[in-house]
Amino acid sequence: MSRKDATLTTHGFKYFLRKLWRDPMGRWGLLILLITSFVAVICPIFFPFDPSKVGVDASSILTGPSQTHWLGSDELGRDVLRQFFSGARISLFVGIMATIISTIVGSGIGVFAGYYMGRLDGFLMRITDFFLVVPALPLMIALGAIFGQNITVIIMVIGFLSWPRTARIVRSQTLSLRQRQFVPRAKSLGSTNLRIIRTHITPHVMPLIVANTILVVAGCILSEATLSFIGLGDPDRISWGTMLHFSFVSGAIGRGAWWYFLPPGFGILFIVLGFTLVGHSFEKITNPRHRGES
């Protein structure tokens, strides 16, 4: 088994990382992701955020940056910087968990549809088309409203609505892989279809899945921010989207309390930009058709 893994990683992690670093797009993306993951993972350990630690009186509400609150305070007198750090963690967590669901469902359906073709393909692709044309946002709002404002629900809703693109891409790659001669060779050796999928198809679609996954993370983070901004976020786990929501409803924008809404706004912008840059750069590396274009 370890030998099989070795095969996958020969063109593995280090190789791709080096390639990414050489591409300016990939390098900027990696830097941004490095900074944001530092903010999301390390900072909350040293500056934990306690949502119940509210200000004592009216004078501590929506104060500007000061010695005690480097990024001021929110409408309840809580520290915005600490909130920003923990919000990064929630946004990233939801984005990544939703992406895992989306990738497993999408690549599973894509590989099976592409490999078996025929009727199964038709059936799975109609389902995919359905999820592709379903207006995602209203459905997310409806589902979020039905199942409640809970982080698990949000992850599930986003995850199960963002897989069709992955399924389409993986399917088309699988369809072309299926025409390669090593598939009939494996069959003539006596391989079962599942074994062929596992040993000959999956390793080939893996780079594509990874590239696509990175882009999906960006989309999922944005979806989470959107849902939270409209007020469907989990009120106990404040993400950047939730921060924007509360800054909006508390009138921080009207009052010019920029320290409250600018940090999460730019946070979302940067994290999405980071994933998108890395994703596109990775796609460029793995897809020979894009090579030499830039």
Binding site: R3, T7, L189
Partner: protein, 338 residues
Amino acid sequence: MSEKFSLSIEDLHVSYQLSGSAGKNKIARAVDGVSLQLHPGETLALVGESGSGKTSIANAVMRLLEPTSGKILLDGVDLVPLQGSELRAMRRNFQMIFQDPFESLDPRQRVIETVMEPLEIHGIGENQEQRRDLALAALAQAGLRPAADIGDRFTHQLSGGQRQRVAIASAIILKPSLIIADEPVSMLDVSLRAGILRVMADLRDQLGVSYLFITHDLSLAWMFADRIAVIYLGRIVEEASAVDLIENPMHPYTKALVSVIPVPEAIEGASRTILSGEIPSPSSIPSGCRFHPRCPLFRELGEPEKCLNEDPLLQISAKSESHLVACFFSDPSKGDTQ
């Protein structure tokens, strides 16, 4: 009766339904009633142009496509009705060497994994170590030395000749009784061909494996095979021992093929017959003898009615019991009396 054959193909038909606007409900008869017998340890070459149906026969025997009708007996067992796990278990007895070694080996696998794969599929060997040893032995047998060194490489790092040896190693590792080789050297440099063919010949002697050797190159068939069957448009037109077929070709099609084999010195009095036109589509097989539109003998004899209306059968010729030919006028003895 079928017991003594390694492979016996009986009246095999393979047809494809053509779809699309051009050929609605048209049926292409790629293999149109082919029977072949192969003795254990024997090499039979199947020679034909592209589009003659030779690869369809290979794929049908390998059960990579479903034959329309007919029997395929391997060591007396009919493969056609087998399905699922029964068929997969049976597959260890017949293996295939594919035409293009650049396509048939997974570029993401190491050589050793490629060769160990059949063992893993059939659960041969007690552990990975034992399978590894078997694989290294097979690589050495296929002429890849040092085997351990080459085993650690990826297939995409090897040359075409080396890859085809890897394919051979993975085909022989299950010790099959039959190997189908579909144009195994046509994608290789001419300088490498002899080496590959020698390895295949050595394995035939060591393992007693029989080959169905598919090629478009008559001189290659003559070099490598014991017997040659010439196929034209899905039907065998002539079958004889390799020497007999080359020295005394009877069917006008075979004659034309033999006449264009390059020889070092021009044989006195020998003229080359260049066939006109292309092989017709298997969806519109000509009536009567399927070769008549391109047949030089047909024109020479003044276009006899018989060729236009009757389909000649593959029959024992007057010359020899083992020389079969499908032509009304090929036998000089018969031809004179007509």
